[in-house]
Symmetry: C2
Subunit: 223 residues, 2 copies
DNA sequence: CTAATAATATACCATTTGGTATATTTTAAA
DNA sequence: TTTAAAATATACCAAATGGTATATTATTAG
């Protein structure tokens, strides 16, 4: 009932459902609006790409006006970058959570392929794979955005490489293995599979590639 | 000297250098213009994507006016599709030529990885990999264009699968191998490598992936 | 409850968009 | 060289673009 009272407190239609959270945890009103804009706008940018997304697409989707959006974000590019970061943050958090299911490095590697096995369904909510979509879209178009994609890719590869290194230290993985090279191989195969799955609209690619990665882990990596 | 005389014959600046060829082999004037538009426009569409390419980009690049372009192509979409086909035709022809270097199916597979080993430099002339760029760009945006990308991917995979099947028949490749599955695996890895190479601007990915494919051919495929 | 401020909506801007009707030029045939 | 047709250039269109100045509304502190 406390929630209802607090809802009544606000005259704004959009935020009513999350207003309780806002009152309790959020800083300012605009912080909440920013959040709302980002989660609404992110999948649109991700789906359409930067140039194919117009500000009117965003005002329609959010139900807000340009005044509200430009009051919270300097311009379209800033918004697109913030949206990309928003999506990636959610994605990386989800992966990290999945990797908590085991402490064993080699099991963590299997958990990575396990995560991507269901990635088609999950990433559709995000408007597609942000790394692939924005990576291709930003190339030759938006240097700043491309830099952010690069950073994300490096981060993912570092994480995989660290897992492999931990596996080597733990004696689970052969000392012959070049951790970063294998991390890059796995990442490259995943991105290829994501591209093929989306373009052909066929999950065979992602399922089969994850099988292949599992085989690699079994045959090449294991000590 | 004959060439010079024929060049003098034309008052149009753009076509002078190829006018001899036109006089001898080409059908109509507009056929030549179409060709010229396509080869100029294709890398622009490929680099920028459909939405980020404006008609004025194309008139500037070609030195022609909208009248000339719309006189030869119904609209922007038709032109983009024709441009994609133009690029892919050149690419597939180049691959086919490279594959002529050997008659042995297993050697042809090695020639595929060999071709893509230098794909970064080559595809830059095309404005990037058309399959990757247009595939991602057209998704959620341009159904017709996406269909054409799908067809190209299927064609490439069929060709690889056929080579593998020929290898099986010739006794070079193990009968255990599922030709189409392996064709798709190879194609998926290539596309992943192309994406990573472009996005990270680092040829490691394409070079290393081709090594990996060669290893696969050696270890898994050979009879 | 009121005043100051923060957040959002409105109305507008010049520029660019894809596309077209028409005028002009270029070409090919007689 | 003249003429019909083909190809291209010009000038224009309404609609949409990203962005902004200002008016209006919500919010918060006193």
């Amino acid at each position: 009932m406390l929630i209802l009272i607090l809802i009544e407190f606000s005259k704004n239609k959009i935020y009513q459902s999350v207003y309780f959270v806002y009152i309790c945890f959020m800083q300012t009103k605009s912080e909440l609006t920013k959040q709302f804009i980002l989660e609404t706008v992110a999948p649109i940018f991700n789906k359409n790409g930067y140039a194919a997304t117009s500000m009117s697409d965003l005002t329609e989707a959010t139900g807000l006006t340009k005044g509200a959006i430009y009051g919270n974000f300097k311009n379209k590019e800033t918004l697109a970058i913030a949206a990309f970061k928003f999506t990636v943050k959610a994605l990386l958090k989800r992966i990290a959570k999945h990797l908590e299911l085991s402490d064993s490095p080699i099991q963590k590697l299997f958990l990575i392929s396990d995560f991507y096995r269901n990635y088609y369904d999950y990433s559709k909510q995000l408007g597609g794979c942000p790394v692939l979509n924005i990576g291709v879209d930003a190339n030759n178009q938006n240097t700043l955005l491309l830099e952010h994609v690069k950073i994300v890719i490096e981060k993912i590869q570092d994480q995989i490489a660290t897992i492999i290194e931990n596996g080597i230290e733990a004696g689970e993985i052969s000392t012959e293995i070049n951790a970063m090279q294998y991390a890059k191989r796995i990442d490259t195969m995943i991105q290829g599979a994501v591209f093929m799955t989306y373009t052909m609209d066929d999950e065979f690619y992602i399922k089969d590639t994850m099988k292949q990665i599992d085989q690699m882990i079994h045959n090449d990596l294991k000590a």
